[in-house]
Every structure is written in C-alpha cells, then in structure tokens.
C-alpha cells in the first residue's frame, strides 16, 4: 500500500487550489486598501480636515471585515503544506520554509499587532502616531506578500538551492539569490500592485454607488478622486510587470510560456502570429478555430524580432534524453541511499540535473520504481512520460487571456474616470458610475486568473524541473481527503455568505456621518440607536 494514489493527489490539488483561490479573494484588497487608507489619512494629517478622518475610518472598517477573512483563510494556506504536501515540505522545506517563517517574523507580526491599533487606537493615539500605525500595517501586509511571493518564485524558478543526496532534499544555500531572484522581484511587484488596482476599484465602485444614490457626496467624490489616481498609476505598473514576467517565463519556464500562448510548434519569427482566440486541444495537441494576429508574438514575448519560441511538441521531443538520463540518476540515487558508495554517487552526479524527469517517470514505472524498469519497457515508459512535461494548455491559455483582457480594461477605465474626476464631471456621466459599481469584482477575478496562469502553467512540477506534483502530496486515503474537502466547502461557504452579507450591509449604510444637509435630526437619533444596538 505504499504506492501513490493518483486520486489523492488530484483531491489534494483540488483542495489546495480551492482554498488558495478563496484566500486570494481577500488578499489583494488588503494589499491595496492599506496603502489607500494611508493615502487618505495622510491628507487628513496634512490638511486637518475632518472629512478625511471620516473617510479613513469608514474605509478602515471595510478593510477590517475583509482583513479578518484574509487572516482566517491564510492559516489554511500555511498549514496545508504540512497537512497535504508532506513530501514537498520535506523536499523543499529547507528553502521554502525560510521565507514563510520570515513572513511571520518581519511582516505578519507587525501587520497583525498594529491592525488592532489601527481600528481601536483612534482616540488613544496622536494623529501622527496613528498615521504611522497605518503605514506600518500597510508595509506589513505588503511585506507579507513579498515573502510569500519569494517563496512562490522559489517553486517556479528555484534559485539559491541545490539538491543534496545525503539529506534527499533541496538544501538552501543563498539567501541573496533567493530574495533577489528576478522572478521573485517581478512577481512581488506585479501582485502587490494588482492589489492596489483591486482596492482602487472597490473604493471607486462603492463611491460610485453613493454618487448614484446621491448620498455621502462629499466623501464619495473625494474617495473616488484618490482611488482613481491610485488605480491609474497602479494599472500601468501591473501591465509593465506582467510583461517582465512573460519574458522571465520565456527564459526560465519554456513549457509555461508555450502553454500560455498555445504554441504547439516552434514559432517562426518575425511573422509568428499571436493567438487572440483559439480552443487548444490537449489530447490532439493542436488548436481549433485559431485567430492570430501576425507579427505580434515574437516582439511581445522575446522583445526582439528574430528569436524563436520553442513549441510544445518540440519541447516534448527534447524531453526524451532528459527522461532517460533522469531514470539513471534516480536509480543511482536509490542505490546510493542503501550503499553510500562513491560509485553510485558519481553516477548520480553525472545525471543530477535530470533527476526531476526521473521522478516524472515513476508514475509510469512498474511499482512506481524506476530502478526496476526492464530494458524492454524503457522506450514505452519514456514515451508515456513525455506528454507529462506539459501543463494543461486550455486552462493556462484561457486564464492568461482573461487576465490580460481585464488588465487592459482597467487601464482604459481608470484613464477615463481620472479624466472625468479631474474635470468634476462624474455625476453627469451616470453610465460610468454604473460601470464602476459593476466593475468591483473584476480585479479580483483578474488576480485569480493570474494565479491560475502562473500555477497551472508551472505543472507538472511543484519545484520546477525538480519535483513533480504527483510525488509531492501526503499519502492520505481518499476518505481523509473527502472529510477535509467537505469541511472546507461547508465552512468556507458559510463564511463567504456572512462576509458578503456584512460587506453589502455596511456599504449600503455608509459612513456614520451626521451631516445636517443629508440627514435630518430624527434620522441621526435613529442611527445612534442603531449604533448602540448594532455595534455600528
């Protein structure tokens, strides 16, 4: 019974993907809202105008509702590496655990400790101290993202680490390489700034909702102005960094970029078309109904007019010698574990770089053991393993396109709203206000699809070219997985319903303003009573 059960692996993947996507609904908002709060509060401290204090408090409450679920679901993410990906943790934990621990030490502690003061400290702190607290929360939440994305970059482009046959795991060997890997840098900035976009859209949407209902006008117009400028610059940065990431994939993760572009055959520059629409067929390895824009693909990905991009069929062909060499490496490694002989170590060292491909071949080997492959079976197993090096093209291709289209839309939308806001013509253009309200969920969707692009495109690996997903999961039974999945679905559904209920309710109610022009005195008595009874 020591064989890996593919159903358990699939269920573990499903559970991780669901919980990660769920967690990631709240995180981008936290990343952006904290800095937006800081911007609003900065205006308050500089100008001393009461309206900005009200704004900061109002959006601060919205932030707090969102933050709670971000924290709650973040616990799952950390624990799942241990509960469901034990082999991964063992194999990569020496490197991967370090940024996670540092996240706790230098970011999450700061963020969580000061968030209490952010909410409860208004009357106990001086203006400047409270502003400093807000900045610390903002820095903390984004530093949190920094360490998580450094860890994620470690999975996608492992740097600062090497495999050690004595401990049977990747050993951490360079902090600087880990932290300053190009992939980590670009991933962090891309994600953090995407959070800025999401938060800007949320604030603009809710402000637009008030403007449409002609409520809280003073607050809504100002919030809209701040958020639209915030969003405009951020959306430019998101696009820039997205481009950097694409080039990085081209250099370091050829299977991912080929899948993103649905490129089955190596491109022929400079004509090679960029597929704007296609239905990639993973089984037949071709695209249906492809509509391409010529001359776009090569400069878009390679930033040149003459470099070809290797197609997936060619990548598959190229994998053949790597798989054979990987099988030798893994066989030698297994013997080395029993004998500790110099000869086995030398054999392993000669083929070490292809070790991951050997792991990949385990799945098709008799008894999931590559050292027992009979010579007659070798060709068949290599053939079977070859297609495994590719990610699911349909998913990668389409999630990328949805993300890109949304990203472009945000840029255009923010440019429009900024123009209207600067010329004070928002209220006479009700269609754009309505559009703003309906656009609230779009940036979160875009970040979710971005995550899918990056992580589905990383398959079949958890540690790129080193450890396959198939091997990484814990050896649970299907019933364990059913239990946890059912629990997560139940619990997360209840929480999301409660969260949306509260968010909508809170947004509808608006800020605790008692502006005489908007509320008559009777109303404010009623709302005061509500506060006493309802906490708000």
């Amino acid at each position: 019974m020591d064989l890996i059960n593919p159903h358990v692996v699939d269920l573990s993947r499903f559970q991780f993907a669901m919980t990660a996507l769920y967690h990631f609904m709240f995180v981008p908002l936290t990343l952006g809202l904290t800095f937006l709060l800081a911007a609003i509060e900065t205006v308050y401290v500089v100008t001393g105008r009461e309206i900005y204090r009200k704004m900061a408090k109002f959006w601060g409450h919205l932030f707090a509702i969102n933050f709670a679920l971000g924290v709650a679901t973040g616990l799952t993410m950390e624990f799942e590496f241990g509960t469901n990906w034990s082999m991964y943790s063992h194999f990569f934990g020496d490197l991967f655990g370090t940024p996670l621990a540092l996240e706790g030490l230098m970011a999450f502690f700061m963020e969580s400790t000061f968030v209490g003061l952010l909410v409860f400290g208004w009357d106990r702190l001086s203006r400047a101290s409270h502003l400093a607290v807000t900045y610390l929360v903002a820095a903390g939440s984004n530093l949190s993202a920094l360490w998580i994305l450094i860890a994620n970059a470690g999975m996608n482009v492992p740097e600062g680490t090497h495999f050690d046959p004595d401990t049977m795991r990747m050993q951490f060997d360079s902090f600087v390489h880990l932290v300053f890997s190009e992939d980590a840098q670009a991933k962090f900035v891309h994600t953090s700034v995407a959070g800025y976009v999401a938060a800007s859209m949320l604030i603009m949407g809710i402000s637009a909702f008030y403007l449409l209902r002609r409520q809280h006008r003073e607050m809504a117009l100002r919030s809209f102005r701040i958020a639209t400028l915030f969003g405009l610059i951020s959306s430019v940065a998101v696009i820039t960094l997205g481009d950097v990431l694409g080039r990085m994939d081209y250099q370091k993760q050829p299977t991912k970029i080929a899948a993103i572009e649905g490129l089955w055959h190596t491109s022929k520059p400079p004509f090679a078309p960029w597929a704007a629409f296609a239905l990639p067929d993973d089984a037949k390895q071709e695209n249906h109904l492809e509509i391409g824009i010529p001359f776009v693909l090569t400069p878009l990905i390679t930033h040149s007019f003459n470099q070809p991009i290797t197609g997936m069929r060619e990548l598959e062909e190229q994998a053949d010698p790597h798989i054979r060499s990987g099988i030798i490496a893994l066989t030698a490694l297994k013997h080395y574990g029993e004998t500790h002989s110099k000869q086995d170590l030398a054999d392993f060292r000669a083929h070490e770089d292809d070790m991951g491909y050997g792991f990949l071949a385990m799945r098709h080997s008799p008894g999931q053991d590559v050292s027992t492959i009979p010579a007659s079976e070798l060709d068949r197993i290599v053939k079977q393993t070859q297609p495994d090096i590719l990610p699911n093209v349909f998913v990668t291709f389409w999630s990328f396109r949805i993300m890109v289209v949304l990203g472009g839309y945000f840029f255009i939308f923010f440019a429009f709203t900024t123009l209207l806001s600067l010329r004070n013509k928002l209220e006479s253009n009700r269609w754009i206000l309505k559009l703003a309200v309906w656009s609230i969920p779009l940036p979160v969707m875009a970040t979710e699809f971005g995550w899918i692009t990056a992580e589905a495109g990383r398959q079949p690996w958890t540690v790129f070219n080193r450890l396959p997903t198939f091997l990484s999961s814990s050896s649970h039974t299907v019933s364990y997985m059913t239990f946890s999945l059912a629990g997560f679905i139940l619990l997360y559904s209840v929480l999301i319903v409660a969260e949306f209920y509260l968010m909508f309710r809170f947004a509808r109610r608006g800020p605790e303003t008692h502006e005489p022009q908007e509320q008559n005195s009777q109303d404010s008595v009623v709302s005061n009573l509500n506060i006493v009874q309802g906490g708000h």
């Binding site: 020591d2 655990g97 050993q171």
Partner: protein, 379 residues
Amino acid sequence: MTVYIVLKLIWTGLLGVLLTGLGLMVGMDMGVGTLLRFIGRDDAERRTMLNIIGPHWDGNQVWFVLGGGAIFAAFPSLYGTSFSVFYVVMILLLFSMILRPAAFEFRSKVSNKYWRSSWDVAFLISGFVPMFAYGVTIGNILEGVGYHFLWTGQYIQDENFLSYLINPFAILCGLMSVALSVQQAGSMLMLRAEEPLYSRAKNYASPGGIIAAILFVIGGVWIQFIKGFALTAPVDYNMPANPLHGQSVVMREGAWMDNFHAHPVLWILPAIGVFCMIASSVLLRLDRAGLAWWLGAGSWFGTIATVGAAMFPFLMPSSTRPDQSLSTWNATGSEYGLICMLVATSIFMPIIICYTAWCYHVMRGKVSVRDVLNSHDSY
C-alpha cells in the same frame, strides 16, 4: 562540537520557546472564547470580554502562524510529517481556528440575537478545540506515532486517526492544555474587566491552575508506564538531516524518565511548572491578577520544558519504526538555513516584543461595558 550541532540544539530550544509562546498568547485568547458564555451573562458583558482581547488577539494569533513557519523552516521533515500524520486532528484544529477571526469581526456587526449566539458558539468551539488539539497532539507524540519513511523521504501512515483521538493519555494532555488556557484567560479578564465580570472570571479561572497541576502530576506518574524511546547506540550529532539512517532506537517502559535519572537537576522543570500552576491559582484568589498572569507564563514554560527534557533528543518518535524517529539530530534544516533563521530571529524577536508591549501599553486600562457600547470601533 561543530557549528551545526550547536545550531541544532539552539533550534530545539527555540522550538520550545515557540510552543510556550503559542500556548501562552494564543491560549489566553482561546480561553476567553471558551469562557465567553459562562462569564458573560448578557450580550453587553460578552462584548466587553471580546473587546478586552480585541486589539491584541490578531497579534497573539501570529504566534501560531510563526510557530508553523518556524517548524517549517527549521524542521522541514518534522513539519511535513507531523501535520500529515495528525491529519484529522490538524484539520479540526484548522477549522476551529478559521472560525475565530470571522467570529471576532462578524459577531457584533449585526444585532440579531440568533446571529450573535451562533458566533458565541463559534467562539466556544474555536477556543476549546484548538487548545484541546494542541494538548492531544503533544500527548500522542509522547506515546509515539505510527509512521515510517520511504527511500524518497515520503512518510507512510501506519495508524488510524481514531487512535489519536480516542486515547486516554492524550485526552488528559488536552484537558490540561484547556485548563491552562482558561486560567490564563481569567487573569487577563481580571486585569482589564470591572465587576461583575471580574468576580466571575476569578471564580472560573482560579481552579484552572490547580486542575492543571493535578493533571500534570497524574500525567507524570502515568508516563512511567508508557513506552518511551531510547537510543541504543551513540549517534553522530553532526549527521545529515535524514531520518532513514544513523539511529538505533528501542521502545521501553519508563524510557522518558532516563534523562531525569541521568541529570536530576532537570527535576527543577516540572517543579517550576507545578509551583507556578498552584501559585497562580492562589494569587488569583488574592486578586493579584498581574503576577498570576506571569506565573501562568511560568506554568506553560514548566510544562513544555518538562516534556522537552523527557523526550530529548526525540521530537516525534515513531512507534512502528523507532529507528526512523525524528529527532533533534536528523530533522533540522540545513546549517545555512538555520543560520539565516537565527540571524533573522535575533533581529526581529526583540523588535516584535517591543512593539507588542507598546500596543498593550497604548490599550492599557480597564474596559468598561459602557465604553464598549458607546464606541463605533468596538467588536
């Protein structure tokens, strides 16, 4: 002694510190959750209790996150194996932990009676279950856990999850952990609540230390009859972190007492534990809640240190393949990784302690029912 050996020892010590900090800080908040409906008789009182820990629970909870992260980085194989082996227990713990942030943020935002009492139940679950699971896990580890490793490093489960839950010794440990958390919560409530919450907190919390002490002593006697683990041959302390080779271990009744027999000075650790538990209960009766809180910290220290001293060098022994038990010598990260983490910890831990103390300072003072009801910001 090489640098690597020293690092292995330091990190084993720090693991103990983390588990102590976790029990203390998270346990305190969990205790408030457990006691919520017993001490708070009406909604206003319950909200007051929540607001006493309101500004701090989030920061305290990071001890939990940091505990997980530090084990991940410093003991990668231990992290992967222990969390997976205890899957059902860990998932239950996780579910109850997830409820907590939501309960804090959501409960008081709607005035409906049923809404609020549902979240009160969530507080009870998320206070009791995690502390219970924490103790249960430690109890199970003391008894040895059924797992072994394949040559790739993959662990294989050899025991059913029910044996971790339906297990008298583990339940005893779980109850002790809950008792300590209730005691700690009581001292915090007494420090920051007014009458009538104050007296009720006193009544509920002051037996906590005594009960914990009794359970601790029973556990201490019980452990003599439990099969502990002992090395049968000297190990190379400098060995590469790989549980597959290099240890030979037997299971023997009373083996957990070996370290105490070899070094009688270790008896001071359980003595500190029992003394602090009893003394903090007495101090609570004498209305010296501040001092009692610090003695509560001593109770956690004494408990964790006693367990650590008994088990050293084992971290999670395997009952089905004792040779593959995870220990200080074979379960740590690489030398480089441990150095990085140590540098980071020694820079950031003092900073964390400073700003946590500052936050408590800013939010100091009694929290009254009226303040809570009048503030827009309160939970």
